[in-house]
Amino acid sequence: MAAPTKDTEVGVPPAAAGRFAAFTRRMPSSTLGKHALTLLVAFVVVVLVLELTGPFRNSQFATMAYYGIAAAGLTVLTGVNGQISLGHGALMAVGAYTTGLMLAAEIPLLVTMLGAMAVTAAVGAVVGVAAARLHGPYLAGATLALAVGLPGLAIYFDHWLGGEQGMRIPSPQMPAWFSDAIYFLSATEASSAKYLAYIGWVTLLVVLFLLANLMAGRTGRVWRAVRDDEVAAELAGIPLGKVRVLAFVVSAACAGIAGAVLGIVVRLAAPSGFTIVLSLGLLTAVVVGGLGSLVGALLGSALLVFLPPFVTNVGTDIGLDNTQAAQLAPFVYGAVLVLVMLLAPSGAVGVLKKLLKKLWIGRSTRRTG
């Protein structure tokens, strides 16, 4: 049976289509199926990577997981729906503090994470209602106020939320079945770093799976429509306000889950952990990775986690003292950001896409020629 033409992507040269079709034919035909298969493969890769790396890398992956979750949520809001938020760090704080309070009350981890998500989504709904009326710099200003103001609540209600020195979060105990399963897989004892990395990455994959489906469906189309042309969207009968609030709620829910993972990984929620720097870091991760792309959000958060220690180590290797090496990290980070904006405004994913396209065209012309 010949490959049905509707399966081949528009824009792929006909010579390559035969090759491409062979690949697509083996993929499940529904979007959900495709995403489920990707999820499965990604899970296997995650298990392999986490089993093959040491506890320190595991802990870095755990960190990357919570940045990744928050960045994925932000890229949906900013990249797909076109709303900017400088307040996602504060929303993560809501998630982390909720997690701390719920875990202290000995509520199971899964329920706690869902609770953190729900509470943050509720806060996101309130902010979203305000945000839906604002545009551009005004929206940036309003969410900036959130980032600056919200962590202050923890200091104001310090008897309840621990004040400046933060609220300690009891780290969840590793269940016996988990360490048995890890032992079964790799014959090593599971460290707590590994357990936290698994929690982080399983959560991250589930979030990415749900977001990918959301973006591929009607909701995603409507979000993009609102982003691209408000007037046209409204003429087409899309209620702008509702759609914007929904995007904000979904994005806030992700930030809440990210905050929950952050809480159990860091074991502390303190106002100094949720400064404007965190919100800006998330935004740069999304932009550097490629706005509107989940893979881009992942790449960006990897940069957030792995670049500073890498630069610091390079700094000490070339003979700088520890202080100078530490000061090098923000400098290189800034330089990378500027270079990406100048040379590849569509982010890492944009560059990758361009390279792939070139490769494809190069190959097909060689074969035909």
Binding site: V44, S59, E164, Q165, F184, T323, A326, Q327
Partner: protein, 443 residues
Amino acid sequence: MIRRTGPLVAVAAAAALLLSACGAGGRPSEGTGGGDAAASDVGITTTSVKIGGHFPLTGVAAPGYSEIPTGMKAYFDYVNAAGGVNGRKIEFIYKDDAYNPTQTSQVVNELVLQEQVFAIMGGLGTPTHSAVLDYLNAEGVPDLFVSSGSLLWDQPTKNPQTFGWQPDYEVEAKIIGQYVSKNFPNAKVGLFLQDDDLGRDAEKGARTFLDKQIVAAERYTPGNTDVAPQIAALQAAGADLVIGFNVPSYTALSQLVSLRLNYKPQWMYSNIGADPTLVGSLLARFSEGKVTDAGLLEGMISTRYLPTVDDPQNPWIQLFQKVWDASGADGELSNFRVYGMSEAYTFVSALQAAGPNPTRKGIVEAIQKTGKSWKGPWLAPFRYSADRHAGISGVGVTRITGGKTERLTPVFVTDNGTAPITESTEPPSVPPASGIPEVAPAG
């Protein structure tokens, strides 16, 4: 149909292969992997001891505090140049956490898991170090001489690996309180407090002696830079002596506000908020150059528990000056570097006490056993024992006169709660000729 099921079969086969390839399959019976002593020697080789710390090297808390690890490093280099401790050179790695607890947990993970340090040394800050307190204790990593005056570090049953170092805020406030009640018995005292553990511990200590004299206790929220309401309330309550338990930036802010309100009480600040050089530079910055330190800080009363750089005759300062010059690093010897060097001096003492073959368990026990008796630049002894992990036990009261630190009282020694305050009877210590402690193994 066959084509459709193809991928499924492939995935299932791959999964089955993967599972069967996974090494263990099940646990062997008990007996392997038991806790032998070798595991407690992490970070120790025959020629080196690797330790690490977290400090704000960038960001808002960096001015001043970032100098502490440079002082520590200079002192360790000095000891290493003289052959190290029991033939082992001390390798000190310090990492930047930007005073952000999230980053603290990342860099401490890096130090413990990747660098495989023997101990964490001098980790700075209450919120930052809180983030790694449980982790270090769960992993059994010695968490020595935390650079913060919180009472959190003195919980040996809960946190057996963690030791405080500087005098806690309560002890310092008790001594300040007694000094005021004796020397200013008619003063109406106002308290200017940071609204967290710093202010709470200190208020408890101050009220031990001053409860009747205190006319107002005003609290500020860290991060909120407007302290005018608090200062105005102190002025309205008629306080003619104000004691501030706050961080350096709030010393500068409170001074600028009272200048504007024309409020001139006798000012006292706890040691943490009273470094004249740092406060002077903050004053200049906050007032955009209109105010320099000279006038405003004159007559301010504070405390000391270490020698200060404005006393070049002090033998410890002479030693540390020598150490700093030998390190060849940029910058001047500052009080923050003296602080770092004094902490480093304590660590070298602890390492000597741990004996020729230090273990993580051994060094903790050695500090508990002999830490109380170590001599060093600190003016009052440590309170270390099997059931106490509290640091320096007392302070002396000082005043800024003519830009210099003038001693008002001898050193007082006390403890938390209702412990009496006594005058320290020990003669001031002098450094050994080598400049390196000579502590006997505790074992």
